[in-house]
Symmetry: C2
Subunit: 349 residues, 2 copies
Amino acid sequence: MAGATYTRIYLHERPVADITPTTFKSEQLPLSSLVPGENEVLVKVHWLSLDPAMRGWLNDKRSYVPPVKIGETMRAGGLATVIKAGPGSELKEGDVVSTRPGMRCWTEYAVVKTKDCEKLVYPKGANMLDFLGALGMPGLTAYFGLLHVGAVKAGDVLVVSGAAGAVGSLVCQIGKKKGAKVYAIAGGKEKCKWLEEEVGVEKAFDYKDPKWKEEFKKVGYLDVYFDNVGGETLDFMLTRLKVGARIPLCGAISDYNNPHPKGLSGYMNLISQRAKIEGFIVFDYAKEYPAAISEMASWLADGTLKRKFHIVEGLDNAPKALPMLFTGGNTGKLVVKVSDPVNKDAAKL
Amino acid sequence: MAGATYTRIYLHERPVADITPTTFKSEQLPLSSLVPGENEVLVKVHWLSLDPAMRGWLNDKRSYVPPVKIGETMRAGGLATVIKAGPGSELKEGDVVSTRPGMRCWTEYAVVKTKDCEKLVYPKGANMLDFLGALGMPGLTAYFGLLHVGAVKAGDVLVVSGAAGAVGSLVCQIGKKKGAKVYAIAGGKEKCKWLEEEVGVEKAFDYKDPKWKEEFKKVGYLDVYFDNVGGETLDFMLTRLKVGARIPLCGAISDYNNPHPKGLSGYMNLISQRAKIEGFIVFDYAKEYPAAISEMASWLADGTLKRKFHIVEGLDNAPKALPMLFTGGNTGKLVVKVSDPVNKDAAKL
């Protein structure tokens, strides 16, 4: 590999509001500079996950993970193959792994700690990309947010925002499986059609339609509002709560790029309805992942859980793809294909 | 009692923002018009409770209780003596009772249903007014909000707003008893002095001091924020949460009179800190009242729970007294004395 180079994309400047063309830059580096040390592996990256939470990592603020540093390779969870294992590593050449979201994976090759990789073990009927979907962070986020924080139960009226996104579309499906009446909110007629016809929600509301709130009121009041968008939609839902309603706060896409969010003026409804808003981070449920993955995998295997990926080709397109999450450009899970798998697992893709 | 009259105060017009001199009106009615029917009693009112929640009852909005109607005697919990018992009533003449907050008690005399009255049973060391304080709604609200919703535990950093009020001052004391480090927020130096010296909080912050937030930051981050005021203070506290923080939302005094609340812009911190805001209504804990009253009474008996009442004399002064709750005019529990007790219980007062 003498003389060979690889591309990495790093944070160049922190965005004040929207991500701009100068937020990220890329550079070529010699591949020979990547040497795995003790308990490390050199991996070739195949797939990157793009997630709304990544916008928060770009801010220099206190959060659940440290901010990405200027000059640092952008972080993302990914799927990769081990090219070379350092001394003492439990992984070996050819192993296909998922890397934790904290890893710096906007790159063609990376050296990562063995403990930050998980060797893929395919449940029956699963494929590689499922580890960025139902069996990965989006699936686990949907699962624990809806079932643990939202405590959804049969007969509940469940409302899901960002419903055509990676997490939202899985929340809708898990909600249906648990017997809830599911109402979806998404941007645009096409997404709503997909949600009603393919995902099978009771009704999908297009928030770009100025009359959607009036229409929504016909639903009555809600037991669980799984919130991916925050802002104005969350504020409206605060006026639609039943007694004891739960709002798992998963994300706030509508406000991530907003340096001065308008804020929730309807919060007093939480008192009269004895309701709660509760934030959560999926990592806190790590010990319970296996049981969740097992249940989700069974739904994938019997064909009752639908996959939906929006694939962007090429690492160079990652900076342009990330903002799609905030403009509604994707339906389903947004991923970047960096390279083809290098071994027999390719067949599973 | 032929020819005798009594005074009642009724809702004359709904306030848009602040309560005004024309919000309530009073009138004299013949006492002979008050005749208790089956399972009803005629009571003479001695004490009225004034509570921030009453502002919400004046709005024509969906809430946890129906709005007070125009022309209807203003509602309040009170303490009263049975003057005459209707057929089938379990209460008898001379019984001293507390009336539920839903009763129309801004009046010298009232006919109320027996089931809406509770005969006072004095725990050791308790006096009549305690049933509007530690052993009544304020005490129960503080107890269940802090211990059930807030789940405060030893070592927690507990922050209390409206800390010099009826509920807040009890929350501070219950928090201390449970081993929390208690920080108070109140309006004015005098209240802060009282909180530090009498109630014994770690430190009290005067929100009228423009530098209080900077000072507060030295406390670090909090585990439980018991919120009585909402608005700007709540929004600030959203930036001061530890992981897993709980915010029992008890009231929103700062926004009750505000037709256009500014709203909570810091709600996204709930995600990164896996924190929750949860509204509650004390009535939901009715089955657990006896255990709570028993514990609170033991603290009153051993002198470790301090009483603080702000007494306004005369029913006619109730309309002027109610707004004090929103301007910070009272320290401790605000009550109106309507009449002297009529029997042996007077000695306990």
